[in-house]
């Protein structure tokens, strides 16, 4: 077996250690102090695999890119300074074959070294008839492709020229049926679902799912976002403050509020919670416990969901079949009321609302299916 591996490591102590490890594995290791040194060796000979120490200059991502450029089929393995699975997965997405974790013992290096050297490479066949017939099929497929491409090109040109321009959709079907909260952040919408106990990040463009986060311990019933945190209302009346990181790490939580709120929002100064069953809207002080300042009675028909921006409170009203605008200073006063066309569906039940970027977004259930839609903010 061709067992020459290149090892890039600047630290003399690590190099000495790795020399012993690769010698124990029976590998013929060629050591380089840095990437330039290694690429100079590459011009003369190609090793079976490359191992390099992470955390040295240049960064691992650049070393991976350079090796993929010079020798795309050689396995490249970063040697991590600590066991960090998130970093390992990121480097593997960037082209690393696998990662060796610290401490770099022979036991840790061996499986990766063996696997890297045993790669089977290009599939080779002894049956040349099969190869010829495959070439014939490929030629036929290529001819068919060009014929089809010509036809499709003409058809596409005609279709684009003579058909009316399609409008971007303003409503979207959700792949889950029980949305409870919606938050708009940048070009994404974050939606919580109580039944699947998940947080779904959607692209605002087509509402395709970008990311899913499972919350197996809690049932989310509402959500609100501030500049640096996400507030998640749970079915037991507790509001959890979470970081806006990849895992929405919980930071603090409030005592259980009664009645348990099913809407929550932040107007830039105060937090607001609402309970759709009693129609009570509560203004709350910022802080970890969100103490109540004042409670108001919703002045419309039937409060379905409430949100706010730094100017108004917005309520979806199932009885009025409207979007209702309320004053932040006096929520018992209706400023305006705009009928929602989506309520033409008698089975629509709006459960969450969010206002951002001149649009008001809604999420809810319609005939057993989840739905999300938006309207332009009424004047």
């Amino acid at each position: 077996m061709f067992n020459t591996v290149q090892v890039i490591c600047a630290a003399e102590k690590d190099r000495l250690h790795l020399r012993g490890v690769f010698a124990r594995l029976g590998a013929d290791a060629v050591f380089s102090a840095d990437l330039n040194d290694a690429l100079a060796v590459f011009e003369k000979a190609r090793p079976a695999a490359v191992f390099f120490a992470d955390g040295e200059e240049p960064p691992a991502e650049i070393q991976l890119r350079e090796f993929k450029r010079v020798a795309p089929f050689i396995p490249v393995v970063p040697l991590l300074k600590r066991r960090d699975a998130t970093r390992a997965v990121e480097l593997m997405k960037g082209g690393a074959f696998d990662c060796v974790h610290a401490p770099w013992t022979a036991e840790a290096v061996e499986p990766v070294y063996r696997k890297a050297l045993r790669l089977s490479g290009t599939a080779l066949e002894l049956d040349s008839n099969a190869l010829r017939s495959r070439r014939r099929s490929a030629a036929l497929a290529l001819a068919a492709f060009f014929a089809f491409a010509g036809f499709a090109g003409g058809f596409y040109y005609g279709f684009k020229r003579f058909s009316p321009r399609a409008q971007a959709p303003s409503s979207f079907a959700l792949p889950y049926a029980h949305p409870t909260g919606i938050v708009i952040r940048g070009d994404s919408a974050l939606v919580s679902d109580w039944y699947s106990q998940g947080l779904y990040e959607h692209s605002l463009e087509d509402f395709g799912i970008r990311r899913v986060m499972s919350l197996p311990e809690h049932t989310p019933v509402a959500m609100a976002a501030t500049a640096d945190s996400l507030w998640l209302a749970r079915a037991d009346g507790v509001l959890e403050k979470r970081l806006l990181d990849a895992r929405y790490t919980p930071v603090t939580r409030t005592p259980a509020f009664s009645p348990p709120p099913d809407s929550v929002c932040f107007d830039g100064l105060y937090y607001w919670t609402a309970d759709s069953r009693s129609g009570l809207i509560t203004r709350r002080m910022p802080g970890d416990a969100l103490p109540a300042l004042k409670t108001f009675k919703y002045p419309g028909g039937k409060l379905s969901a409430l949100t706010c921006d730094n100017r108004f409170l917005w309520a979806a009203d199932g009885a009025l079949k409207s979007l209702v605008k309320l004053s932040l200073d006096d929520p018992e006063k209706i400023l305006s009321r705009t009928e929602l066309k989506a309520y033409a569906s008698r089975t629509l039940k709006v459960t969450a609302v969010a206002a951002a970027g001149g649009r008001v977004w809604f999420a809810g259930e319609d005939g057993g299916r989840g739905t999300a839609f938006y309207v332009d903010e009424p004047k």
């Binding site: 699975a85 997405k93 840790a108 061996e110 490479g121 039944y195 799912i209 990311r211 499972s214």
Partner: protein, 103 residues
Amino acid sequence: MNRNRADSYIPALAATRLDLPPAWGRLTSLSPQEAEFLSQFELPAGRELALDFDLGGAGFSAVTAVIKTRLRDKDGYFHYRLVFSDTAQRELLRQALAALPRR
């Protein structure tokens, strides 16, 4: 692992419910019901895992799966057969797989 396809195997992070550091590896096959996970790390059969991985531009987080079988190959890597345990996550996987362009 075939060299020509190694880069196309999906890297995945596998966290266990215990206080062990998460492991990593690649998904060598994936369906809405189960997956094959290839990793240098040893995990016991029957253990529940939470997998993080990307699929078709979407990121899946904390997808729960149970290790049904494991097999160690001659290089020292472990081949795990995982069964996804959450019905809602299975459905999401099915939709994500169905949305992928056909090869």
